[in-house]
């Protein structure tokens, strides 16, 4: 257990630092969410029936976390391929999930920059009040949302061991996940058939926990569901990785780009 935790933490720190040094990732994490935040602020400010600007700011911030994940988690395995180390990683005695989970979690983790930049942008340019109803729960909700999004990215990434071009599909999921997880659009506005899909996605509950902690509302249930779904994603990713890893070895396609 301690060994696994050490592998995870070391990998997370390494990849977090590595990603923080990438201009592309920093633009995706810290600047791109400002575009959507600005649009949401301008749209919500234009009418008197829209939700509050803090609602928009929090939504845009969590959207940024999913953006970095959708853009890059899919490519996490492909990146190891390009660097020529995927076979080494697979052959190492450490379980593959302990190698990949820190990568996708670090990718979601740099979404922290998105939260900071979006809230500051809203405060400085649009005068969005940054009053947080439950500061302690807010601090707990953010890492819960980050980890849940990172683990959803891991589930996606696990399929990419064999389906090499599937990473492009994950990028195409950027808008759909924004739409159906209630980041800016209330679920009540969406067609009823979307609800079960939204409930199965941890970002829905992560977003709800963050928003309720900041604006008010029940935080406990969303937080628990978010944690439960995150564990389920980790289990699913472990099964998928095990299966796809063997399939890729069998086909000798592990290092094919």
């Amino acid at each position: 257990m301690t060994r696994s935790a050490r592998v995870f933490w070391t990998g997370f720190v390494l990849h977090f630092k590595n990603l923080s040094a990438s201009p592309f990732m920093m633009v995706t994490a810290a600047i791109w969410p400002l575009v959507y935040a600005t649009l949401a602020f301008l749209m919500f400010r234009a009418t008197h029936q829209a939700p509050s600007l803090l609602y928009a700011a929090l939504g845009a911030a969590v959207m940024g976390i999913w953006s970095t994940t959708a853009t890059s988690a899919g490519g996490a395995i492909q990146q190891q391929r390009w660097w020529g180390i995927l076979e080494i990683l697979v052959a190492s005695p450490t379980r593959l999930i302990l190698v990949l989970a820190p990568i996708t979690t670090a990718i979601a983790g740099i979404g922290i920059y998105s939260i900071v930049s979006t809230l500051l942008w809203g405060r400085l340019l649009f005068g969005v009040p940054l009053h947080v109803e439950h500061p302690l729960l807010f601090v707990v909700s953010i890492p819960a949302a980050v980890v849940s999004i990172g683990l959803l990215g891991l589930v996606l990434a696990s399929t990419f061991v064999v389906y090499r071009s599937a990473s492009n599909l994950s990028q195409a999921l950027e808008y759909p996940v924004w739409t159906i997880t209630g980041m800016l659009i209330p679920l009540s506005l969406l067609p009823g058939w979307v609800d079960p899909i939204a409930w199965a996605l941890a970002p829905t509950w992560g977003m709800r926990a963050v928003r309720h902690a900041a604006i008010g509302g029940d935080v406990g249930v969303p937080l628990l569901v978010c944690a439960g779904l995150s564990l389920a994603y980790a289990g699913l990713a472990a099964v998928l990785l095990h299966y796809f890893e063997h399939l890729a070895r069998d086909r000798a396609s592990l290092s094919l780009t």
């Binding site: 749209m43 234009a46 969406l190």
Partner: protein, 262 residues
């Protein structure tokens, strides 16, 4: 003249096939064909959340704006891609006419941008019930081509700057963000701060979006003559400035030996 045309058409087509990173169906379909529709659905529902405008308003705005995705990245790949494949110096060492060389690369990008934009209308019709008079379809198609032309002109400028900067995708992303915010795609121009409204007048997409919304609601092409002319003029201006910058940076790159370095 024959050589000029061969470089323009054949060279442009080969370059597009070789350098357009999204040309594989596995990338092309989710990114360029499905992507605009998902963007439209998101903003249409965001518009419902804000009680701002009708779904049709967002369908037209975002579909026209999605031409910029293919145009900006397409032109970026067409020029920056040569550096990645280490063929930039070889291409620029040829005595080929530069206008034929670079404008030829713009033509497939323009066509692809128009196709990308048109899928947004199809997606809007299927998922949001967007409808427009059938008689308006040819006029709207023309407007999509004009918007794609203007965006390709801006893409040429982005590609030119890419000769000096390393991260063309970042530049293309930021340019697309500016178009998304400033051009009245999702926020009515009269709801934007005055300086943003004024800046939008000088950007591609703004006038094409305005004209397309009119045409989609049944107006004739003649009635939107002014925004059409402005969009064409802006496209020509960006194309010329982009081409001039390409020549300038090429010349500087040769002199300083920095073409492949950026």
């Amino acid at each position: 003249m024959r050589t000029w045309l061969r470089i323009f058409f054949v060279g442009g087509a080969i370059s597009f096939r070789a350098l357009f990173s999204w040309i594989r169906p596995s990338i092309y379909i989710p990114t360029l064909l499905i992507g605009p529709t998902t963007q439209i659905v998101f903003f249409a529902y965001l518009g419902r959340t804000a009680h701002l405008k009708s779904d049709s308003w967002f369908v037209v705005g975002n579909a026209v704006q999605s031409a910029s995705l293919a145009a900006l990245f397409g032109m970026g790949f067409a020029i920056d891609g040569e550096r990645w494949t280490q063929t930039l110096s070889a291409v620029l060492a040829t005595p080929a006419n530069r206008a034929a060389l670079f404008l030829g690369r713009a033509l497939p990008v323009l066509a692809n941008a128009a196709v990308t934009a048109s899928t947004g209308f199809v997606g809007g019709a299927l998922l949001l019930g967007f409808r427009m008079p059938w008689a308006s379809v040819p006029a709207l198609a023309l407007l999509l081509v004009l918007a794609s032309f203007a965006c390709t002109g801006l893409g040429m400028l982005v590609g030119a700057v890419g000769l000096r900067l390393r991260d063309v995708p970042i530049l293309a992303n930021l340019t697309m963000a500016v178009l998304l915010i400033f051009c009245g795609v999702n926020v009515p121009l009269d709801k934007l701060p005055r300086w943003m409204h004024m800046a939008a007048e000088g950007l591609p997409v703004t006038h094409a979006v305005a004209a397309s919304r009119e045409v989609a609601s049944g107006a004739s092409l003649a009635s939107v003559r002014t925004p059409i002319l402005v969009e064409v003029a802006l496209g020509c201006a960006y194309l010329l400035v982009g081409f001039a910058l390409l020549r300038l940076f090429e010349e500087q790159g040769r002199r300083h030996g920095t073409l492949d370095r950026a």
